[in-house]
Structure formats: structure tokens, C-alpha cells
Amino acid sequence: MKTRKRMGYSFAGALALAVVTMGTASSQEVKSAVKYGDMNTVTQDLLNRAESDGNNFLLTNGDYWQRRYYPNTQINTANVARLHPAWIFQTEVKESLETSPLIINGVMYVTTSFSHVYALNARTGEELWHYKHKLGPVTTFCCGPNNRGVAAYGDMVYLATLDSKLVALDSKTGNVVWTADVADPELGYSETMAPTAVNGKILIGTNGGEYGIRGFLRAYDAKTGKLLWNFNTIPENSVGVWAEKDATGRDMHRDIAAEKAQLAKSGDPFKTLGGGVWQNPAVDLETNRIYFMVGNPSPDLDGSVRPGDNLYTDSLVSLDLNTGQYVCHFQYIAHDIWDLDAVSPAVITTVTGKDGKPTKGVIHAGKTGHVYVHDAKDCSLIRFSEAMVPQENMWTLPTKDGARMLPGANGGVEWSPMATNPVLGLAYAINLHQPMTYHVANAPYPQGKLWLGGAFKVIPSEEQWGNVTAVDYNTGKIRWQVKTPQPMIGGVLATAGGLVFTGEGNGLFKAYDAETGSTLWKFQAGAGVNAPPSSYTVDGKQYIVVGAGGNVQLDYKRGNAIIAFTVD
């Protein structure tokens, strides 16, 4: 209890002390180059129309609904075989690359590990400016010093940093406009996600599910960096309904009596229960709601110290955009002890509802290997897809010596965003098959240090592989599936040209036929292509762009390239 009190105090203190530093531009942090172009202000109207914008790529996942469906058809099934590099830009950071490039009026913004931002001429790859965040001495990350991109709004771009700060940069110069302290890295908080900009707000969550944080999603004022609202992903009553089955109806073998006894003894574990949010929320401006995924409980594998359903871990959560007030949630796995949580970002799209009629839905690809389809009104589950990867021994409880269960703890689908094709009614997900044993151990809350409650171990003697899967989200059936030689991590882009783009750990970047899964084109990038692709058009020419820098989590070959492709 003493520990918990201290944690509670420290966290409250961190909030109270949240400092916004205005105008801390530090010229030595920015390397200026030739200025190019005249970037238009990113207006809300521009962002609202991202879905049909065939020139820019304005949001991390394409549009507010996060469909990752680019509307230009210039690059298509008929000519994609001629796709070739237009330019390659090398960053100064040769480390895990997970960035989602944004492209606005001919200017591209990419980020790298260790919280760097580059602005590039999207026509040529020429560097316009480079912001290198001066990280504090303490940064806490479980799975690489990653960064997944910036948000753009007004005349600024926004970076969330590994040392848990939110930084607003002048989009023309890369100079710092304001910095906000988000949370204390010494307590296990860090930032790797791209923020989301909407209606004058910058939305961000936090990493730290392996460190006993209390997760949140927050809105900051885009102009000033002032905190507007905070939603704790872990409510003070995190117990829930003592659910015994997962979202698909399978028994999770919980010892409810033991949990209730523990609850009576130690109280609600909400202060150190994890529940990170590290992928972008989907935004529905028609209803003024956001939808996002909440990650695993802390410690990952030891449920004995955290009785109850551990709300809202492993859940889809919806909030009111203006206030941050709770609207609805759906928990996939209550009291998760396998780290098979919810990460891949929510996608809003029109789906066949429970009554067979078109309805606004929210879809999510789980680490379990299912694509889940929800009703956007109340978060309820409409259907779940066939399993995209082998599932064995679910839900075997972790043991001291290790219990084998599939999927392994990386999924299924990891953080990788899906793409969708609304015309075909398909969602494209990339999967891992990585057999593991799950081990449990007990340790008290370690004040911001790694707190796994055991281990997940890859079984070296078993084959690993991945796949690209097209799921019909109106039926839950798999339409097509292509096996890959390695587990997949990164992300997917679909285009109106009938294409699906995604990369592999072995350096191959491929284009698939969106309808059939046929491989239409491939390129060897020399390092793992483990980042979500984007597309854009300048001077009437469409490009596909992707980062090739490998991946820490799966230890894929590192590189430092941003590669743009065209068909001319």
C-alpha cells in the first residue's frame, strides 16, 4: 500500500507540475537547409476532406476514420510493375523505423527512432530541416526507441518524444514553438505514437504497459500546449463484471474466487495497472467521438496482483472529443495474462450491421488473430473474423516453466495499422506466427522498471512466418491470404488503384492486387520495411513512400532510408 500511495502522489505530482515551455526554440537543435515551397496552413477543413484528397497524406492513417485508402488511381494494377524509386533519403539514425510519412503541399514529414523529425521536399527527397530532440537522461522503452510520426495542424507539426514530452514545431523551420511535459519517464512513461490533430486539439496517449503506469489519453491545446482534458484509461473501479469468456466466447480459465480474495486483501490495483494507448484514435466528426485501443495490464503475465477485469485494458474505448468523457467500451480479454492486447488502431467504416443493414462500424485487428467489427453507436461487437493465424491451447494459463500457446505474445496483428478498401469491403491486416511459451513469476511494483510478471519466450525450434490477410468485414470471412517467410510488422496502405502495399522484415516491399492477393510488384530495400506506407501526388505525379529501417522488436535488419516510388 505504501508503494501505491507513493505512486499515486508522484503521478498526481507529475500532472500538477506539467510544464508548458513557450518559445524554447533552440537553434542548435535544428539544422536548416534550403527552404522549399510555401506550405499552406493545415486547416481543419483540409483535414476533414483527407479521405478524398488525392494530393496530400494528411493524417497518420490517411484520414480521420483511419481507412488508409488513398484515392488516387494513377498508380494501379495495370502499371504498378513499372514502379521504381524516385528518390531515397537517408536519415542520420540507423535504427528501428516505424514512421508514417505525412505529405502536405509537396512537403514530407518523417520521424526516426530517438525522436528526430525531418521535413523533406516530397518531389526530390531534399532535406528542408531536421529537428533532433534533446532527450533527457532517462527514457523507458520496452521495444525500441521508436517514433511513428508527427501530426500537422495550422502552421505547426507535433512530435511526441521518447522522454515523454509533446513538442510543437514551426512547420517551415523546425523551430520549437512550445514543449509540454506529458509524464515522468522515471515512472515508466514514454511516447512513441504520432499525435492526432483535430479541432484545435492535439490528442496523445502514452506507452508504459510494461512498467506499471496508469494509462491515459489526453487533449492538448494545439496553439499553446495547455492540457485541455485527461481520460484515465484505468478507472478507479477497474474490477468490471468478472467476465469469464473472451470476445469470441472462449473460457479464459480465471480463478474468480482467488481474485476476489486478493481484491479484498489489496484493493483495486488501478494506480499501476498499465493500459497504455500508443496508436492514433479514429475520429468521427459526425458524432464528435473518438475511438481508440487500450493496451495490456501491468504486470503483463502475473494476474495474481491485479484482481478483476482490469478495465479498460485490452479494450476499444470511445470518448467525447470535446470533453474526454467516456461514451462506451468493449473489452476483448478481461484480466489478460498473455499480453494479447489491443493495439492496431481502430478504423471507422461502413459495415453490415447486426440487422444486415449498412451501419457505421469500428474495426480492429487483434493480437489474437481476429478482426473485430463493432457498432460505432455503443461499441458492441457485431462479428469477429475467422482466425488469421493458428490458435492453439487458448487460453492456457502461464506457468513457472512456461506453457505453449498460440498466438505468441506479439500476435496475430501487432501495432501494425490495417488498410481498408471500402469498395471491396475488405480490411487488410498483416500477421505474425511466432510460437511462444508463457511464463509467470511474481514481483512487487518496481517503481517504473520493467514489470512483466514473467516472460514470453519464442520457441527457437518452431518455424515462424507471417501473412497478409484480406478480411471481408461484412461477413468475417477471409477473402485471400498470402504467407510471408517472416512474421509481419509495420503497416498497410490500400489505394483506389486496386493495390495493397506492405513491407517485410527481409527488406522486400510489395504491391498486391487488392481483390486477389496476387503479387504485382516487389522491391528489395536493403533493410526491413517495417513501417506503414503513405501515398501522395505532386505536380500531377503520384508517389508511394515508405521507411526501410528495420525493427527492434523482431530484430529485423536496420537501415535509415525513406524511399519514394513512382511509375514514370
Partner: protein, 184 residues
């Protein structure tokens, strides 16, 4: 004798009036004047990651990590001292202990075990660490072996996640990992 030395160190370390170089000189008594530790079970701190060094000093002071020599020394340090010492030693060049590279067979087995529990997720692919995560490459073999053993028994209690990962790995595999990392 040890008690007397500790008493002396404790006296030397009110620290407020000392420069960072003077404070750091005290550390050299064990960690080496030129970065090579006096004893093989004492870690290299020259060139070690800044955040990691700070957190260890913090944890010694908090009692989360315990060591007969280090605990009383850290007890006398304020946070600013810890940060300054961490920054001071992080800027130094990592010394070579000239430990032999592991054989190909040992390296292969070590890398398989490393991949199984995902050491590179935090220590990164060249085992240089970053910020709060320590460099392992080229660290003293005896210190690595002792640390792993202490994690397994949880005598070293300031990182239970490491204890869990070490306990999920066989002793034989850990021996190859120790040899491999020391020789990198």
C-alpha cells in the same frame, strides 16, 4: 577494514563542496582511475549509459538495489549529484578489457537464446544500450555472470523484469550469453 573504508567514504561524500571531478575521483578507487575496475566483479562505468548510471545510484539510495560498498555512498548523494556523476562517467570512453571473442558455436547459441527472450528490444542490436538501458557489450565477464546470478535469485531486486527473463532462460544459455557479450 571494509567497515573502516566505508566509514571513510561516507565521510568523503557530503559532496556539496566538491567539484564533479573530485566526487568522481572517489569512484575511481573501485571502478578504476582509467575506467578499468580494480576487481572483475566491479562493473565498467566509464562510457556507460547516463540514465542507467543515474537510476542505479537512485536505486542504491532507495534501497531497491543493495551493495555493501555502493549503498552507503549513494546514501550521501542528492539527485543532482547522481545526475552529474552519471553525465560525467557517460561521457568517458568505454575501456577495453580485452576479453576474447566467443567462439562461433557459443555465439550462435547465445544469439538464439537472446532472440528467444528479446534482449535486443531494450539493449538494442549492438548491445550498446541507450539512456536507461545499460551497455552490455564488452562489460566484465565476471560482473555479467554475477549480475545474471543475482537477478535469478532476486538478490538484485531493482529490475524484476530482468529477473523474470533470466529465470526463463537456462543456466547453460546464460553462460553462453555472458561469454558472447563480454567478448563483443
Amino acid at each position: 577494514m571494509l567497515a573502516a573504508a566505508l566509514f571513510l567514504l561516507a565521510q568523503v561524500f557530503p559532496l556539496h563542496a566538491q567539484s564533479i571531478e573530485e566526487k568522481a575521483a572517489t569512484c575511481g578507487a573501485c571502478h578504476g582511475e582509467a575506467g578499468i575496475p580494480q576487481e572483475k566483479t566491479t562493473p565498467i562505468i566509464w562510457g556507460q549509459q547516463e540514465g542507467y548510471l543515474y537510476l542505479q545510484l537512485r536505486d542504491f539510495k532507495r534501497g531497491m538495489r543493495k551493495n555493501q560498498k555502493m549503498s552507503p555512498i549513494a546514501e550521501a548523494l542528492e539527485r543532482e549529484d547522481m545526475l552529474a556523476l552519471a553525465a560525467f562517467f557517460a561521457k568517458k570512453s568505454w575501456p577495453s578489457l580485452e576479453q576474447p571473442s566467443a567462439s562461433k558455436d557459443v555465439a550462435t547459441r547465445a544469439l538464439t537464446a537472446i532472440s528467444s527472450v528479446g534482449c535486443t528490444g531494450c539493449h538494442l542490436d549492438q548491445f550498446q544500450g541507450d539512456a536507461s538501458v545499460p551497455r552490455l557489450a564488452g562489460q566484465s565477464r565476471e560482473y555479467l555472470a554475477k549480475t545474471i546470478a543475482d537477478f535469478r535469485t532476486r538478490e538484485r531486486a531493482n529490475n524484476p523484469g530482468m529477473s523474470d527473463l533470466m529465470n526463463a532462460t537456462s543456466q547453460d544459455d546464460l553462460a553462453t550469453i555472458t561469454e558472447y557479450l563480454a567478448g563483443r
